[in-house]
């Protein structure tokens, strides 16, 4: 069991929402934002600070920009698997430089893409882009002159939130590879589980578990007006996972421990400068639509209005973020390719006026034989995201095997 009473709020807040001391306690039922404002995704996506909409050259095109499956950002048949491990420190929101107990969060991504040389391609991906599973010590909100503090209690809260997304996508290019369009269909599932074990008989125990799902679609475009410039445009439809109070009810003393989860509408525009086949520089901006009242996961009001974990609700306004990423290929041979990545972005959480911080990202990819290994880091003042990716170039593996056996592949 973790011993920091404010862990859920203080731990999740910097990553997904605000990291601000200005958040106010409210008792209304809103939804919370499942979409991280920080970069999480494939290792290439992390290393390039997410600035990949204009040149989505890996399986993550399936959920980043499906137009990348039209052949304007690489071809082939490959499989990838990436994990993000976030050193998510408990922070004192009044002094963000103070880091304590590390409560790591992990995300996983898998995908497969096949892109022909004839200008069309398909792909499928699985994501776990939001996952919290922990046992936390309870806390009670105490008001001080300078604001709220959390006093620890012996209550135990077992909390789990897991978001899964299954995506299939296809893309096609036109006009001799100068324009491409793509479409992706997403099926999402969110599981929420909350178990409260009180330390005092005066408080009732509580247990709740549920799963809700939603569908959405993404649409993307790629355009290459000149050989050295490529533009990308993506619209991603929102998903609502409706955990209604009537369906998931606790004793009246508890207020809304399970709330509607939402992935908001987003629109992304990016440009990639392609002066040389071994170098790309991209800039990109994403608009995240406002969320209304965005509760923080784990903020739970207990009997008598006491905060069991914490009670934070905060309006999340619409934001524009800005990011850049550069990709350099220092070595490219049939048995080994090396890529280097660097990037940066301003994260704007959008919570109650916003909380902005600059992230620096870097990474590399080494692809020997038919394999691929990638590592990247996203560094900010509050936490680090370490990303590791493994992949297989299925087409190259098949080609090598066929060559060794003396066969000729139809692909």
């Amino acid at each position: 069991m973790r011993h920091f009473p404010a862990l859920v709020v203080a731990g999740v807040l910097p990553l997904f929402a605000a990291g601000t001391a200005r958040a106010q306690a409210q008792a209304q039922h809103g939804s919370y934002n499942l979409q991280p404002t920080a970069v999480t995704g494939s290792t290439r996506y992390t290393g390039l600070a997410g600035a990949v909409a204009a040149y989505p050259d890996d399986y993550s095109a399936v959920f980043v920009n499906p137009a990348g499956l039209g052949g304007m950002a690489g071809t082939g048949f490959d499989f990838g698997s990436d994990s993000n491990n976030i050193d998510n420190f408990v922070v004192d929101t009044d002094a963000p430089g103070n880091r304590a107990l590390n409560d790591p969060i992990s995300f996983t991504f898998y995908g497969l893409r096949y892109i022909s040389r004839d200008g069309w391609g398909v792909g499928a991906a699985y994501q776990e882009p939001y996952k919290i599973d922990g046992v936390y010590q309870g806390g009670r909100r105490v008001r001080f002159k300078s604001g709220f503090r959390i006093a620890p209690t012996a209550d135990v809260i077992d909390l789990e939130v897991k978001h899964k997304v299954y995506t299939v996508a296809g893309g096609v290019s036109f006009l001799d590879g100068r324009l491409a369009a793509g479409l992706a269909l997403n099926y999402g599932q969110v599981k929420e589980s909350f178990v409260f074990t009180p330390s005092s008989p005066a408080n009732p125990p509580a247990e709740l578990e549920g799963t809700e799902d939603a569908f959405s679609a993404d649409a993307g475009l790629l355009a290459r007006p000149w050989s050295w410039l490529q533009a990308g445009l993506v619209y991603k439809m929102r998903q609502d996972f409706r955990f209604s109070d009537s369906k998931y009810a606790l004793p009246p003393a508890f207020r809304a421990p399970v709330r509607t989860a939402r992935v908001p509408d987003r629109a992304t525009a990016g440009l990639a400068w392609l002066p040389h086949r071994r170098f790309r520089l991209a800039v990109q901006s994403t608009f995240n639509r406002k969320m209304g009242d965005a509760y923080i996961v784990g903020s739970v009001l207990g009997p008598g209005g006491a905060a069991l974990v914490d009670s934070v609700a905060a309006g999340q306004h619409g934001t524009f973020d800005g990011r850049w990423g550069a990709e350099y290929v220092p070595f490219d041979a049939s048995d080994l390719t090396v890529k280097l990545w660097a990037g940066g972005y301003y994260e704007d959480t959008g919570i109650q006026g916003g909380y902005r911080r600059y992230h620096k990202t870097a990474g590399f990819n080494v692809a020997p034989w038919f394999l691929s290994l990638s590592m990247a880091v996203d560094d900010s003042e509050l936490y680090n995201n370490f990303s590791v990716g493994l992949g297989v170039d299925v087409l190259q593996a098949a080609t090598r095997a066929a060559k060794a056996l003396g066969w000729r592949l139809p692909l």
Binding site: N85, F331, A333, S334, D335, L336, V366, P368, W369, L371, L373
Partner: protein, 303 residues
């Protein structure tokens, strides 16, 4: 129970044997009588050394620490390409008196630079692994005066540990890095380092066991506890008459805050005719806790 050469071949590199089969047997015995170990490796190169397969059985026993033996069986493959060597290994260890079973999967890459030119791990195999257009570079065209190699190895070990409320799975993710400089194939110095990440917080109450599935420079004997990170150095010097010496030292920090120092060395002899013999000494020291030493003897033959 450890041999720098076998490790080099299995984990980080080393020239592939030119023969059809090499079998190597090593035995290690502690001076205090508590530690015994053996390491058996069989290496088979195919397709002119482009692939190398290996099978390995590792056994050790701390007679004064737990009853029975620790056994680990693994199989490995190495694919040599012109610009990089790729290697993988899978292994398993049956349950014993100190823990339930564990399984491991390992992958690694090795890059070799001849001066500033990236080339094959074994220059002699250049012709067999050349993939580009045109004739393959001749082996003598590689400048072997200063050879730099960079290695990275990832090991995923799935430990099954008996806990109070049943079997607890501890996934140990180990990253190892090596930078080696070799001068005229005679003198070789390597700096090594690495770290571990675990799938969950190993709070007190998690059983401490002896582990020997990760290779450390100079690390002949099993380590007691959950490793955190390490730094080490390894040295190899060719002598005369087929003799050479190798040695290594590692400073290993453990999750419980303990520090362990591992040191060891071997005198190796290649008399010719496919024979290889080595004698060595290994030392493990944990300050104010224990110190152990063990001698090793190894014999290998290539057909």
């Amino acid at each position: 129970m450890r041999l720098l050469l076998a490790l080099a071949a299995m984990a980080f590199g080393g020239a592939p044997p030119a023969s059809a089969l090499t079998v190597r047997e090593s035995a290690l015995a502690g001076t205090s009588g508590g530690y015994y170990g053996s390491d058996t490796v069989a290496l088979v190169p195919i397709l002119g050394g482009a692939y190398q397969f290996a099978a390995r059985a590792r056994v050790f026993r701390y007679r004064d620490a737990f009853p029975g033996t620790q056994e680990e069986y693994s199989a490995a493959v190495r694919r040599e390409l012109f610009h990089v060597s790729v290697r993988g290994r899978v292994g398993t260890a049956p349950p014993n008196a100190q823990r339930a079973a564990y399984h491991l999967a390992r992958g690694g890459l090795l890059f070799t630079f001849y001066g500033l030119t990236l080339g094959p791990e074994d220059a002699e195999s250049a012709g067999g692994v050349w993939e580009a257009e045109g004739p393959a570079p001749a082996p003598e065209s590689f400048d072997a005066a200063w050879v730099t190699s960079l290695g990275v190895v990832y090991t995923n070990t799935n430990h099954h540990i008996e806990a109070d409320d049943g079997i607890m799975v501890v996934v140990q993710n180990t990253w190892q890095f090596e930078l080696r400089e070799t001068w005229r194939e005679r003198t070789s110095l390597a700096l090594m380092g690495g770290g571990n990440r675990y799938n969950n917080v190993l709070e007190h109450g998690v059983k401490t066991v002896y582990l020997n599935q990760i290779d450390y420079p100079g690390g002949g004997m099993a380590v007691r506890g959950w490793p955190n990170n390490y730094a080490g150095v390894s040295l190899r010097q060719g002598l005369w008459g087929g003799f050479s010496v190798s040695g290594g030292w590692t400073r290993l920090s453990l999750l419980d805050g303990q520090l362990e120092s591992l040191a060891g060395g071997e005198l190796e002899w290649r008399p010719g005719g496919g024979w290889f013999a080595a004698a060595g000494w290994f030392h493990r020291h944990r300050r104010r806790v224990e110190t152990r030493g063990a001698g090793s003897l190894s014999l290998a033959y290539s057909w």
